[in-house]
Symmetry: C2
Subunit: 395 residues, 2 copies
């Protein structure tokens, strides 16, 4: 039997592009009934590549497992249908700028009058109460203003964004966390609440110790390639045919590395490398020693030696290497679904593995308005009324 | 009244360094009783700077709001105490390599016999079943093998890590998501389950559309600085005194940008820029036009103009600029707590804002073993027995 952790949880997903849809897809993977509500032209994500037979896989990966209706929320009939859906729902998620839903008469204060148990999740660039709350905020803006670009990059690089939309991903995950926490709270209080996540805040929180380092020292972290301010040796290193990474997170690992691999027991008592903060400070000097050791070894040879000695290390993989690896197969990292228009879509499986109620890509991403009829009939609309709604461009 | 969303949820936190502790801190911020269990020498994170009066703020930020006991899990008495705690707990989280807890006789199969409701969260570099499961995996290894480093960096850069420990942060958040999903499932099934998260998988999932792009085209994404493969114009741009970012995520925004700011209505119908995929393809040509427009404007001037026209954009902030901003104040992004040894610690507030049961840094991070006595007395140990446990180095 297909046991669903979020069986019976109904989510109305008004979101577009990445952060909100990613949140919705997490809930859908765990079995919530996520109803995506789109404007008639489709949300922006449907206009982004890559495409497969004209269907966006950008949209596809983020909206698998959802049902889909089109709805004009500016029309009176559209608002009425939305409110009927809210009466039966557990969660609403949206990523408009703060205030947009209020002006439509569909903000949290309006919706909780209809359904006090509703959990309302809002995600935006800057969040409620920010002086910038009225401004749109995409991922790149959150990486720019959230501090990410100031710390990412090689030594002489300009500010560099993380090569993925990490602000959106973090924001979507934070929203899902907030919704699940609110669901747990509702089991006790019986009431929903408002969950508010900003992309900028999500990026900033992910910078972890960089903040404390700055607050204590007053010194700004700089872009410095691949070493880490908190641990060393912990960096990328050049071998004879490319780069690999090594991380020694504690004294024991450092000593094994020096003794068994570098054959330099003297380094253990070298005053430059006595403890973690000293090794961070003198990271470059140690790196020279490591790269000298690596100069006659390939990445594969070195990683084999390091792993045999239980030193955390690894090659630097591209998407081909990872997706074709035994690791990817063993972990079920990718999954194929059949889409009615696009054909076979290869999507990312959930990275969250549960033993009893596993995540699953339950259905292919929906074509626009795929479930208009079923959902409206469930609300009691007749075929004639549905045809009229279509005619009037409500759906 | 201080309403706690996770009131009554007891979490035993055996984790160290970043991913696991970050997960525990999310649960603690929402009011779970998180009991950190450390070896007598303290977990590795206590050995990482920055320091304040000898106390690690690296540890501090990730372990606020937790209680703390020391426990030697290799001793029989230590195992017994741990099992007594498990009987009363809802969750156990650990980030040993898969198999370590089993060999101690404290794996999920052992613990569920004692408490079938226990939710067991494991986080490791590679996860259960991976050919690499026995290998240690720090953040940098997950960024290397998870694909992050292959896509991050400027055009001629070597593989570049995200400037924060993003693999650990994503992993910790995924674990928290899995635990909360399992908690919801337990409300229905009455039973706990095993939650398994790998850092490598967490990083890979965060690369979003890069996977679908590769699967469809067979072409590997390359490092290319700050533009995005899915949207354009969406990049960093040089103004007269520095860089700013601009993101036009849909046709309407693009047209406003051309018409009202660039005063180049012709670009809207220019065949190079007709839709999103074409604009991505010809991003560099459009960038020249934007940077020419910016050449006589400062970052602040340009951002003001862009914002006035509602074009998503922003400056690139460092940690000083963000932490001193009105945004940070309005959103309560940082919080100070008094620590008995370190004094005033400035920590990151939760980026997840709930209206009814808000997250909160409830207490300062614990000194090592701070709650040994209270917790052992709660389990029924007398003062004499506690003294003996200390003597025998069990606690």
């Amino acid at each position: 039997m297909d046991k669903k952790a979020l069986q019976g949880v109904v989510v109305l997903d008004l979101t577009k592009v990445l952060a909100g849809p990613y949140c919705g897809s997490i809930l859908a993977d765990f079995g919530a009934d996520v109803i995506k509500i789109e404007p008639q032209k489709g949300e922006d994500g449907r206009y982004y590549g890559p495409y497969l037979n004209g269907e966006s896989l950008y949209f596809g990966n983020l909206n698998r497992g959802k049902r889909d209706i089109t709805l004009n929320l500016k029309s009176e009939e559209g608002k009425e249908i939305f409110k009927k859906l809210v009466m039966k729902a557990d969660m609403v998620i949206e990523n408009f700028r703060p205030g947009v839903m209020d002006r439509l008469g569909l903000g949290y204060e309006d919706l909780k009058k209809i359904n006090p148990r509703i959990i309302y999740g809002a995600i935006s660039g800057f969040g409620k109460g920010s002086p910038y709350e009225k401004l749109g905020g995409y991922d790149i803006i959150s990486q720019a203003m959230g501090g990410q670009m100031s710390v990412t990059g090689q030594e002489n690089d300009p500010p560099t964004r993380s090569g993925n939309a990490i602000g959106d991903v973090l924001g979507g995950m934070n929203l899902a966390l907030g919704l699940l926490v609110a669901l747990q709270a509702r089991n006790v209080t019986g009431e929903g609440q408002y969950v508010d996540v900003a992309l900028v805040d999500s990026v900033a929180a992910s910078l972890e110790q960089a903040w404390q380092r700055y607050f204590v020292s007053g010194k700004l972290p700089i872009r410095h390639g691949n070493y880490y301010d908190a641990i060393a040796p912990y960096d990328s290193y050049m071998a004879s045919d490319g780069y690999l990474v090594i991380g020694c997170g504690n004294q024991a690992l450092f000593e094994v590395f020096c003794r068994e691999l570098l054959h330099r027991e003297d380094l253990i008592t070298d005053p430059r490398f006595l403890d973690v903060p000293l090794r961070v400070k003198n990271n470059k000097e140690f790196k020279v020693i490591v790269e000298e050791w690596l100069s006659d070894k390939t990445v594969d040879e070195a990683v084999d030696m390091l792993r045999a000695a239980r030193i955390p290390s690894g090659p630097i993989w591209d998407l081909k290497q990872l997706s074709e690896s035994e690791h990817a197969k063993a972990r079920g990292m990718f999954v194929e679904v059949e889409h009615p228009v696009a054909g076979t879509m290869k999507l990312n499986a959930s990275p969250i593995k549960l033993s009893d109620t596993p995540a699953k890509v339950r259905t292919a991403p929906p074509v626009l308005g795929a479930d208009n009829e079923v959902i409206l009939k469930d609300l009691g609309y007749s075929e004639e009324e549905i045809a009229e709604l279509k005619e009037k461009k409500v759906i």
